[in-house]
Amino acid sequence: MKTDGCRRWREALGAYALGHLPDDERAGIEAHLEGCAACRAEADSLLAVSRLLPHADPARFGPAPQPPPELGKRIASTIGAERRSKSRRRRLHFGLGFGGAAAAAAAAALAIFVLSGSGESSPERHIAFSALPEGVKIGATLEPQAYGTEIHMYVKGISSGTLCRVYMRGPGGADVSAGSFRYRWGGDDAATLSAALDLSRAEALVVHAGERTFVAPLEQGDASDRNTPQEEEST
């Protein structure tokens, strides 16, 4: 029984589904629903929606927060860096006949050694943080890229699960985010990050690890301050 008469019932079905109708109107609608399959189906689907409403918080119906504009670039450069470092690892992996994830980490560490020890005019910079608490080691290798700087971080001796946010400090003390990683005991202790700041313009590398902040100033000019990077993972 779908007639024009349904229309007047239909428009009350919303209030019906929300339980807003006075008793007499509700009784009238229910009598109609008994005999009208189309309205019954409509009422059921609105009842299903109305049951979801309590899960939403009306204070959150305003405009949704938007991701910062640089996030997309950061993701693109992280993926680009990972793709490049993966192919580098793969070459070493085959060359040395290692296996497993630990070997991949060792291969990554080796890659840094091979590159740094090569003595060719590699523009890479090795950074060792000083003034660290007892037992903590933080080091980084910085590599210039078309998009800015690729940063290989290695961290030891801080609490597992600590979130480390890494920034490069540019001219005038402006910090450019390079992303973050979480340090885990027993995990791969090297992380590859990237920042949209030219290495030649960087003044310092900044790491916020948990509540603490560590800053390693970068001296401009030649990369002669070849601080010894952290020793290789022995496991």
């Binding site: 239909r10 428009e11 009350a12 079905l13 919303g14 209030a15 589904a17 929300l18 807003h20 689907s45 609105l46 299903a48 929606v49 109305s50 979801l52 409403l53 899960h55 939403a56 918080d57 009306p58 959150r60 119906f61 305003g62 405009p63 949704a64 927060p65 938007q66 991701p67 910062p68 996030l71 997309g72 950061r74 993701i75 693109a76 992280t78 993926i79 680009g80 990972e82 793709r83 609490s159 597992s160 699960g161 600590t162 979130l163 946010r165 992303g179 973050s180 979480r182 948990g210």
Partner: protein, 169 residues
């Protein structure tokens, strides 16, 4: 490799343009922190790219797949947060909203954002604020019957938007 797999960096850029805003919205909703939310979205796209060959559009939409990855990332971040020594002295952690409840809430809130302002308004006034239809009608300067029909069309619009978003009950 299935056609449509997410294998190169251009695919990731396109996926980001299409879905990052929603993923970020949910990440902020569930983590309550914009810095962590950025981290979660970044990790989601990196994981998606790493596993890109396994994405098959025949099986499900890219959006659904990305949300499934984000859900795991958020769980991992929650675990990592739990092992940090920030737990209160009595060892009781601050209760966090269970993740699937957060996802459900976020979907409905997102659907509410997408329906028309007039529809959202009458649902907020009559349902969430529990105000009488006559009062809302007087405030809006429309007949009471109009408020009632907007409630009806508002619920219908909500149902349609939820379906478009892939909500299944």
């Amino acid at each position: 490799m299935p056609p449509g797999a997410l294998t190169d960096e251009r695919d990731v850029r396109e996926a980001y343009a299409a879905h990052a805003s929603e993923l970020y919205g949910f990440a902020v909703r569930s983590l309550g922190d914009s810095g962590l939310a950025e981290e979660a979205v970044q990790e989601t796209f990196v994981r998606a790219w790493r596993a890109g060959e396994r994405f098959d559009p025949q099986i499900g939409s890219l959006r659904t797949w990305l949300f499934a990855i984000l859900r795991n990332v958020v769980i991992d971040l929650g675990r990592a947060r739990a092992v940090r020594p920030t737990v209160a002295d009595d060892g009781i952690e601050v209760a966090v909203e269970p993740l699937d409840e957060a996802l459900l809430s976020w979907q409905i809130e997102e659907a509410m954002r997408r329906i028309g302002e007039q529809h959202r308004r009458v649902l907020v006034e009559t349902y969430y604020r529990g105000r009488p239809y006559a009062e809302v009608a007087a405030e809006l300067g429309v007949p009471e019957g109009t408020v009632k029909s907007r409630v009806y069309y508002g619920l219908r619009a909500l149902r349609i938007v939820l379906e478009e978003m892939g909500y299944e009950d």
